[in-house]
């Protein structure tokens, strides 16, 4: 029986070795190591699994390399929208949020819902009002959108526009 342990992920995607530049690969590895340490330190001090997973995910939400919180993917509208959930294996209590836009740490809002709300899942402005009522930090959209994600989104829009405008593409 291990005294305690933590495991993390930051997404699975179809990517072959060599398709990722060295700098980005290094940034991924460093971001994972930072998040692992945040969670492991909580456990090492006798902290709860719930606090440990929140700490690890918080670290990755702050890291623009990962698709959560800052650095998230952009919607069709070029905006960020977040979902998050946390579950306590001991009490089976749950906190979850869907479609929030301005909450700096969606997983921390999910944890406050687990601790203080009679419901499991809050979405949209209801979830954001609950964050306000519990003094959780909210941020403007510019905090979450990184230049590279903006770039990727613009490329996508131009690609789509290009498809539409391509000669012959207008034929029915």
């Amino acid at each position: 029986m291990k005294k305690y342990a933590i495991a993390i992920h930051a997404g699975a995607e179809t990517l072959k070795p060599g398709e990722l530049d060295k700098k980005k690969e290094e940034a991924y590895r460093q971001g994972l190591a930072d998040a692992l340490k945040e969670g492991y330190d909580v456990l090492g001090k006798g902290g709860s699994a719930l606090d440990a997973v929140e700490a690890a995910v918080n670290s990755m939400e702050r890291n623009p390399m990962f698709n959560a919180g800052r650095g998230a993917s952009l919607t069709q509208r070029g905006e960020t929208e977040f979902d998050a959930a946390i579950m306590d294996g001991n009490t089976l209590r749950v906190g979850a949020v869907g479609g929030v836009r301005y909450v700096q740490h969606p997983i921390s809002l999910a944890k406050v819902i687990l601790q203080k709300c009679k419901h499991c899942l809050l979405v949209g402005t209801g979830a954001e009002e609950f964050a306000l009522a519990n003094n959780l930090p909210l941020k403007g959209p510019e905090y979450f959108v990184t230049p590279e994600k903006r770039e990727a989104w613009l490329d996508k829009q131009q690609e789509k526009a290009g498809k539409k405008a391509m000669p012959g593409s207008m034929t029915d």
Binding site: K2, K3, Y4, A5, I6, A7, I8, H9, A10, G11, A12, E13, T14, K16, L20, Y28, R29, L32, A33, A35, L36, G39, Y40, S48, A49, A52, V53, E54, A56, V57, F66, N67, A68, G69, G71, A72, S73, L74, T75, Q76, E81, F82, D83, A84, A85, M87, D88, G89, N90, L92, A96, V97, G98, G99, A110, K111, C120, F144, A152, W153
Partner: protein, 134 residues
């Protein structure tokens, strides 16, 4: 999408998942992450699970709970249940999938059908482990 599962010194398990969703998703689209049993699940008796990938496939396959159920009712090991959940309904539910799970002994399992999953693991008094392709 990012996630974590942990076992603490009191033997409690927890799971957490957070995501920015799919690039170019429709406004208002919610994925598997906040759907309990879909992208996130934890139960002290069996395991904690956090999923990533094509949310619609994970939700329809209820994959986080499937890992739990295959261990609890079909006597699968953590690794076997995680790998089976990755393959589950693969003919009907297309898309990238990654599953991170941990059992009551602090063992972790990673399953993914993409060849690349950003992941890490550390157990008490052991060196941290970080991996991408390997």
């Amino acid at each position: 999408t990012v996630g974590a599962v942990a076992l603490d010194i009191n033997g409690n398990l927890a799971a957490a998942t957070s995501t920015g969703g799919l690039t170019n998703q429709m406004k208002g689209r919610v994925g598997d992450t906040p759907i309990i049993g879909g992208g996130t699940f934890a139960n002290n008796e069996v395991c904690a699970v956090s999923c990533t990938g094509e949310g619609e496939a994970i939700m329809r396959g209820v994959l986080a709970h499937e890992v739990y159920a295959m261990m609890k009712y079909a006597d699968n090991s953590l690794q076997s249940a995680t790998e089976k959940a990755i393959q589950l309904h693969a003919d009907k539910l297309k898309g990238d999938r990654g599953i991170l799970s941990m059992d009551t002994t602090g063992k972790a399992a990673f399953g993914f059908n993409t060849g690349f999953m950003k992941r890490g693991y550390q157990a008490a008094d052991e060196e941290p482990f970080v991996a991408l392709w390997e």
